[in-house]
Subunit: 647 residues, 2 copies
């Protein structure tokens, strides 16, 4: 059994108000741009964008109009993610019109629900006799999971339980048909997410049935005889991944979950499963499951993760490949997968507040997650490469999945609404607490209320991140005895800490500076984090990055763009001796700190047009290299980009 | 019009006997191993190998037995390539039993021929009503081309014209149904080769019809309205390449041939078309076509060719991609494509004897062609990578087409018989002549008879290549006035030339040292070619090779193998200052000169298990690097391999 006393939980969103210059701006973009735009997209009212059909499917399923099902089998989940984002948005800023729109959508969704609780428009429209017959590929439990998350979030945000009750009925329906008992299907989700969702539901309902179902999904997954195999034989569906090396591990179902030690298969599925594993391990105190979560954490973050927090090395199966295989230009790095890694990291933090979890969470959030959206909030990346040559994206079919510019919407539109719900709820990743201590994981400017020993403490947190490392914490109201733990980020080589103006010598425990006292109004903590520009190397087993460095500063990974450095980025070198200068550029890319260094461009001194010739000394011309934050790339037209630069 | 007086032609194979230690060994392997093995394979008698069905298809088509068609639509071409190899083999070494076997196969083939001359087992067995209805994909004209090449070769080798006459009848049949005239199909080959084949046929028959058909295939190709487009609409077949960037350029049919300036699409198809273009340009003296051939030559050899002579950068469509896009690990580099490049180079040499053509021909032959076969002649590569990590070939679906070990046979078995016919006829690539001059392109030990001014001159050529650069030429018999032109290879930085013991100062013209005199028995020429180990760089636009060098010596490209250097080849460095030692190793890999140099291994000084960390100086340990000839890699089990090494 795990020590459940160390568990911490995130703040409820109504205990926290973000005012941060960086993240609040992102949230406003979600509120002002993304949510309204996505509503139009879900209703097929965006000219030139791929049709969604999502709202229409619910209307057809509810008998409100005639029509056919349109879109992917998981189209319902787009509405769910949008509703979840709306729930968080309403917490951030009341908006009666938006709430009315969401209530209307919820009415339509609930009107589509069948008398026995079933609720998936694909099968309601195309024939209920086939429902639950292809759990492997047809995403019913995935849509259930997302809609359940939306229902819980909407309930927390508004107190309205219409959708929550609908999803409880749907969970009952699933529980009647799927499970380990005689006469039920021994299935589980082909695309995970229901595991996390059921735990969120359980934490509202306290109904053991919901916990049991989540636990069953994890326990049964990958057991012999393999359900997906039997199901495929029964329904005669083609097993698309038959001739790949990963086969059922595409679904993380090639082995029982507790025997999975490497992150394998579809990266989003894997990240959602890992999150569910961590959740169930925490709630049940199951030590073997906690060990599995930890092994998978190590696999992902120590051997299979890009420096941006992107995961998924191959577009074939949108999947993990093998240890240290991290190609920068054929990468998948789906936005949703980086989001999934944030989910997983937060859940690991809940089981044990260690800075290594927060480091990865922060890495993904500031880099591979927000790179998925344009600075104006209107265009999105599905794939987040670390190196782009636009011509290759067009003419090398191995790289056609990599786009050099963000798109307006996707036929398979999982990423944009996923980003919206994460950004709108980013406060849930800042702080976790357990009644004795509050752990501040992310320094995001905010007002928040923590609970120490049953006493509420109103705090104000100020932060200069990601541009400078000044953190200020003050007690605004309340009085409580307990621990406030401040994370020392992995990227920070030194810091100064003061409490009420006096220097404090503290040694981080698991990466946190723990301050225990009776906190009183007016108490102030200042933490100044050194944030030098740093040349980062990849583990020497990463073939693609050998001889190259990535430039980071604080939580941000930087990159070279053609817009600043001209074409032929592979000809640029950053000598070890070059000094960096940081420039605050309020007018650049929405306001960033850019970095420059004296680098080298290897000039073309090639004689004639031969493709190969005896090596000669290249002419090395000095060139000022300009680095911009990776998240902000591809906002100035199409061009080359590279995170890793030769030394 | 081109100056047709400069044209040269290869020696007939009966004018030449190869005795070279290197190439004759390859030929013996073809005679003793490959041809007998392939006969067994074509007859489905090799246990454990993919079934061929090739001979069986002819038997079924001839009514000699009952059965269904088996294999690829182009299965007939395997018999053709085998017969062509046998023809060359019979020139190298009489073999009545083999000849009787070949005659038997020819009987079967001819028995399958239809009364109107049609001869393709796929349609004879599956329904003649559909013949010539899918020229785009169904390879009838490809099979015709290969069988015609076999027929011409067999006629030259044996004087027997049974197959030749059959193919003349088939050509008549094609000519009646396909062509520019009213009522005929305005089609052309989906997979080129018939263009070359028809020119070979024309050079035997002197029948203008055969030249006209070859010319028509080139002139019509890619013209609007596009035949393949119309045909696809008519037969309702799916256009597999619809959603790629290359579309009809997969078949080199997206534009008229004379408007094609870049090598595009399927590399084997492209190389065969280019060869046909050069042939037709030579025979017709068509200057615009010659310019097209030259533009395509430049595109391939100056912007789209690997240092090994491999071509085809992507497995998607087995195709060219774009200028300077030469990834080493996701490369296609099909053996057949390198063979096609040899065909093209020889034909360019025929139009103008320039050493740049011979340099490429030699590069492909000594590297990317013979790498396709194991040293014992029993296993074959389809794909010839320049960098291999075995785990990636298994677990990265982008590299699954790359095999780390050669295979016994393939379901699509184009490469092994193609290699067999090329190796058995390698003499046709050594020398070309035009009555006034004989150009020696490749230094392969041989006895040969050239024609100068109508006089035959018996020559003996001795060569130490590829291991050392001593070339000896002597007149054995005959007396003739004219020019013997000796190529100075592009890799050779210096040479000494003596005629009858006296030094001769000669300046190469187009890369050839031209010796004009009255040649008498006993005349000797000695040419000593300097052959230092050379570090080669790729053009600075080749992203994948930046900061790396390839090691060459003479015509051979070398590589690092794990067997000699341990795993983690990416951690090895070859400093510019390291001196090379060449070692003759008679017991290694069938006898090679290996190279060693004092290199560096960057040791793993990484702290802990972090995936990314601030850069530190790597511990650099000296390590002797051992390079072996690239062609000989993968003959000592599965392991890493790399041609390019970091400096």
């Amino acid at each position: 059994m795990m020590d459940q006393n160390v568990y911490t939980r995130p703040l409820a969103l109504d205990k926290l108000r973000i005012s941060d210059g960086f993240w609040h701006e992102y949230q406003l973009r979600v509120l002002d741009k993304v949510i309204p735009y996505q509503w139009e997209a879900l209703n097929d009212r965006v000219p030139g964008a791929d049709k969604s059909g999502c709202v229409s499917n619910f209307e057809v399923a509810a008998g409100l109009k005639q029509g056919a099902f349109y879109g992917c089998v998981f189209q319902d989940s787009d509405a769910a993610k949008w509703l979840e984002a709306v729930a968080y948005a309403l917490t951030l800023r009341p908006d009666p019109a938006l709430e009315a729109t969401a209530d209307g959508l919820i009415s339509t969704i609930c009107a589509a629900q069948q008398p026995d609780g079933y609720l998936d428009t694909y099968y309601i429209i195309n024939g209920l006799d086939k429902r639950f017959s292809n759990l492997r590929d047809n995403h019913e439990l995935y849509c259930f999971g997302h809609m359940t998350e939306a229902a819980v979030a909407y309930y927390h945000a508004t107190g309205k339980d219409t959708l929550l009750n609908a999803m409880i009925r749907y969970a009952d329906c699933i529980d009647r048909e799927i499970g380990p008992e005689e006469g039920k299907k021994r299935g589980y989700p082909g695309h995970e997410v229901a595991e996390m969702a059921l735990i969120r539901l359980y934490e509202v309902t306290k109904d053991e049935k919901h916990l049991r179902l989540a636990k069953y999904f994890i326990d049964e997954r990958g057991r012999e005889p393999l359900y997906f195999d039997e199901e495929g034989r029964k329904n005669g569906s083609r097993f698309y991944w038959e001739h790949t090396h990963f086969r059922y591990q595409y679904y993380q179902a090639g082995r029982p979950v507790r025997r999975q030690h490497d992150a394998e298969g579809h990266a989003v599925r894997a990240a959602y499963l890992m999150s569910g594993i961590a959740d169930v391990a925490r709630v049940t105190g199951d030590g073997t499951l906690a060990e599995t979560a930890r092994a998978l954490w190590d696999s992902v973050t120590k051997r299979r993760m890009y420096i941006t927090g992107a995961i998924g090395s191959s577009h074939v199966g949108e999947s993990f490949t093998f240890d240290y295989d991290l190609p920068n230009d054929t990468v998948y790095g789906e936005t949703c997968a980086a989001i999934g890694l944030v989910f997983f990291a937060r859940r690991m933090l809940e089981t044990a507040p260690k800075a290594e979890y927060a480091d990865v969470m922060e890495r993904a959030l500031y880099n591979g997650v927000i790179s998925g959206m344009s600075l104006d909030g209107t265009r999105f990346f599905y794939v987040n490469p670390l190196e782009v040559l636009p011509e290759a994206c067009e003419k090398d079919e191995n790289k056609r999945h990599v786009r050099p510019e963000r798109q307006k919407w996707f036929g398979c539109a999982c990423c944009p609404p996923n980003l919206a719900r994460l950004l709108a709820s980013v406060g849930q990743y800042m702080v976790t607490q357990n009644g004795r201590a509050a752990f501040i994981h992310l320094y995001i400017g905010a007002e928040l209320e923590v609970d120490l020993g049953g006493q509420a403490l109103q705090l104000k947190l100020g932060s200069g991140l990601p541009w400078h490392g000044a953190v200020r914490l003050s007690v605004q109201a309340g009085s409580a005895e307990g621990t406030i733990a401040l994370r020392v980020p992995g990227w920070c080589p030194g810091w100064t800490l003061k409490v009420n103006g006096s220097s404090v010598e503290a040694i981080p425990e698991d990466g946190y500076l723990k301050l225990s006292r009776l906190w009183q109004p007016g108490d102030t903590v200042t933490l100044d984090l050194a944030m030098p520009v740093t040349r980062m190397a990849a583990h020497p087993s990463v073939r693609e990055d050998v001889g190259r460095v990535a430039v980071t500063r604080g939580p941000l990974v930087y990159c070279l763009e053609q817009a600043d450095n001209g074409p032929g980025l592979h000809r640029l070198r950053l000598p070890r001796s070059a000094a960096f200068t940081a420039h605050e550029e309020p007018g650049l890319l929405g306001g960033v700190t850019a970095l420059t260094a004296e680098g080298i461009r290897e000039e073309d001194t090639w004689d004639g047009d031969a493709l190969y010739a005896p090596v000669r000394d290249a002419k090395q011309s000095p060139q000022t290299l300009t680095f911009i934050p990776y998240y902000a790339w591809a906002n100035r037209g199409v061009g080359e980009m590279s995170v890793w630069v030769r030394e």
